[in-house]
């Protein structure tokens, strides 16, 4: 129980219903609302699986169902992503050694269902939620699909207040924005315009009649029983977010090396401390904000190391950390992480002007958690499948689908919004979502008076948000995207 957060200045972790479950025959308990992995973590179990060739211990890295390092056997069903699977009473969780055993279980899949909607929205984070609301507001029918148990995407762990102007919810905490959007969503659920499918994943694209209709397969998980949905839609909006970047250093796969998002999920969603002493890698906004959130959760942050010669994030955040006595070391990096079965310490090293380690500058530090905040890569696997034209745009964080200023890709009826379209902020993701939702609905004939001025207003908000010095990177990225699109489609 040592790893449960008791006191928190912002979040009130109320005691919820106690749930007991088995981990390899040991009876443990967690709380309602836990994921399997968060309950295991709170019980001190970080090793979830063993690696395929070298028998290395593995725990989850991303904590949001993307890295697949958390696969375990649950009630005999192998390959369950335990970081996003809900904890239920009496379940049996077992480690699966390397490849899963031949499953000794009857898979109770229900009959296939069909859903016909105007617009499919993949991802219920800030972009997907806003896209759904805007499209439904125009009168289109929407199916919103998300892998998690609750809507909000990464907003549900953003305990800090947002920057920007009032219009874009500045001064409001991300967790509150998620609640506001969820309330708006409920109104549309009641009038039947939006159908929400949580704990569900869009797993594949199957060419319908591309001109008029798109066909997707979606799997809905219900207490380990799945339903396969054939979804036919006239337009689809991909708001799938992003994946945390991994760094290369020996020991980078040890349990206890987490992405910053995973650390936030553990402490701000589940109320579980990721560890006792953390080294943060990366002094961009994510690294700085998460470091401060770690302190708020009562966890020691030993130091922040940043490979660049200067701090990347807002100086307000950096100053806050320094006031709390956390040193931020620029031109420093992780050389190696060591430990027997889990993180026990790290060696950090100074870098010279050519990014090379300075000999003799190594320092060994004891710690149990390494948090990587070294950027994100847009989640775009689906856009490849659909056949959208992709380009590598470094300022956008990697390969992205080319899209116009209505967020429309090169495939008719396929839109993109938020981090999937280029790494940026939650505030811009929300507006991109609105633009995508509005544009998709209009293209299907759901028009209203004042549509074009509303769209212009959204675009104006985007420009304002990107106007500052920290908006430079996305501004360049988005400019490159539209330039490339123009070149290809003159």
């Amino acid at each position: 129980m040592l790893l449960r957060i008791k006191k928190h200045p912002i979040i009130d972790f109320k005691d919820s219903e106690r749930i007991s479950f088995y981990f390899n025959d040991t009876k443990l308990h967690g709380f309602k609302g836990d994921s399997i992995a968060s309950a295991l973590h709170a019980a001190g179990i970080k090793k979830l699986t063993t690696s395929l060739k070298y028998d290395r211990p593995r725990g989850f890295f991303c904590g949001i169902g993307k890295c697949s390092s958390c696969l375990m056997k649950v009630n005999k069903v192998p390959n369950v992503r335990t970081c996003i699977a809900p904890l239920n009473n009496g379940i049996r969780v077992e480690t699966q050694e390397k490849l899963a055993d031949w499953p000794d279980v009857e898979f109770k899949s229900k009959s296939k269902e069909t859903a016909n909607v105007d617009i499919l929205v993949v991802g219920a984070g800030p972009a997907g939620l806003c896209a759904s609301l805007e499209a439904a507001g125009q009168g289109a029918s929407v199916l919103l699909v998300d892998e998690n148990q609750t809507v909000g995407g990464q907003l549900v762990k953003q305990t800090h207040k947002f920057f920007g102007s009032k219009q874009e919810k500045a001064g409001t905490r991300g967790i509150q924005i998620a609640i506001d959007l969820e309330n708006d969503l409920k109104k549309f659920e009641q009038n039947g315009k939006i159908k929400v499918m949580m704990d569900s994943t869009a797993i594949g694209y199957y060419e319908g009649d591309k001109e008029k209709q798109h066909k997707f397969a979606v799997v809905k998980r219900e207490v380990y029983e799945n339903t396969l949905y054939e979804v036919n839609c006239r337009a689809a909006i991909f708001a799938c977010g992003a994946m945390e970047n991994m760094l290369l250093f020996p020991g980078n796969d040890l349990p206890g090396v987490y992405g910053a998002g995973a650390v936030q999920t553990l402490m701000n969603v589940f109320g579980v401390k990721p560890g006792k002493k953390v080294i943060m890698v990366g002094a961009g906004n994510v690294g700085l904000i998460v470091s401060y959130q770690l302190l708020q959760a009562g966890i020691e942050v030993d130091r922040v190391v940043e490979a660049m010669p200067q701090i990347g994030g807002y100086h307000v955040h950096a100053a806050k950390l320094r006031r709390c006595g956390v040193p931020i070391l620029t031109s420093h990096s992780i050389k190696e992480v060591y430990g027997n079965g889990k993180v026990e310490g790290a060696v950090i090293v100074k870098l010279d002007n050519n990014w090379q380690p300075v000999k003799g500058s190594e320092e060994k530090i004891n710690c149990d958690t390494i948090c990587l905040a070294v950027g994100l890569t847009p989640s775009t696997r689906f856009l490849y499948q659909v056949g959208a034209e992709m380009e590598f745009i470094p300022e956008a964080g990697g390969y992205v689908a080319l899209h116009d200023d209505s967020m429309h890709t090169t495939i008719k009826g396929i839109y993109v919004a938020g981090d999937s379209s280029g790494i940026e902020e939650a505030s811009t993701a929300m507006i991109e979502g609105k633009i995508a939702g509005l544009s998709a609905a209009i293209s299907l004939g759901y028009k209203k008076k004042g549509d074009s001025s509303l769209k212009k207003q959204h675009m104006g908000e985007l420009d304002r948000l990107r106007a500052g010095p920290f908006g430079e990177k996305p501004r360049i990225g988005k400019h490159k995207i539209s330039k490339l699109l123009g070149k290809r489609h003159v």
Partner: protein, 91 residues
């Protein structure tokens, strides 16, 4: 095992293995995938592809935009076969 960073967590591929394969002449993502199974595990390349792109760029001098990404196919997450094979609702 020598101290080496892990590139692909699913298939347990180290940085050393990737570098060796590049030296042997496997110089794009598709070839490396076929040689080492990089990106073919349950995460479908979500962790490793961006790392391998960086290694390839550094080792071969190729422009990232010239390194093509492996094909993405359904299903994008592990799904029990029973689910994929579930039949039409007979009501």
């Amino acid at each position: 095992m020598k101290k080496s960073a892990i590139v692909c967590r699913c298939e347990d591929i180290t940085e050393e293995e990737v570098l060796k394969a590049i030296e042997e002449g496997y110089t794009d993502l598709e070839e490396l995938r076929k040689k080492l199974r990089i990106g073919m595990g349950p995460c479908q390349g979500r962790v490793c592809v961006q790392i391998v792109i960086k290694i390839l760029e550094k080792k071969t001098g190729k422009k990232v935009s010239k390194i093509s990404i492996p094909t993405s196919r359904p299903p994008i997450i592990p799904v029990p076969l029973g689910t994929l094979a579930s039949d039409k609702d007979e009501k």
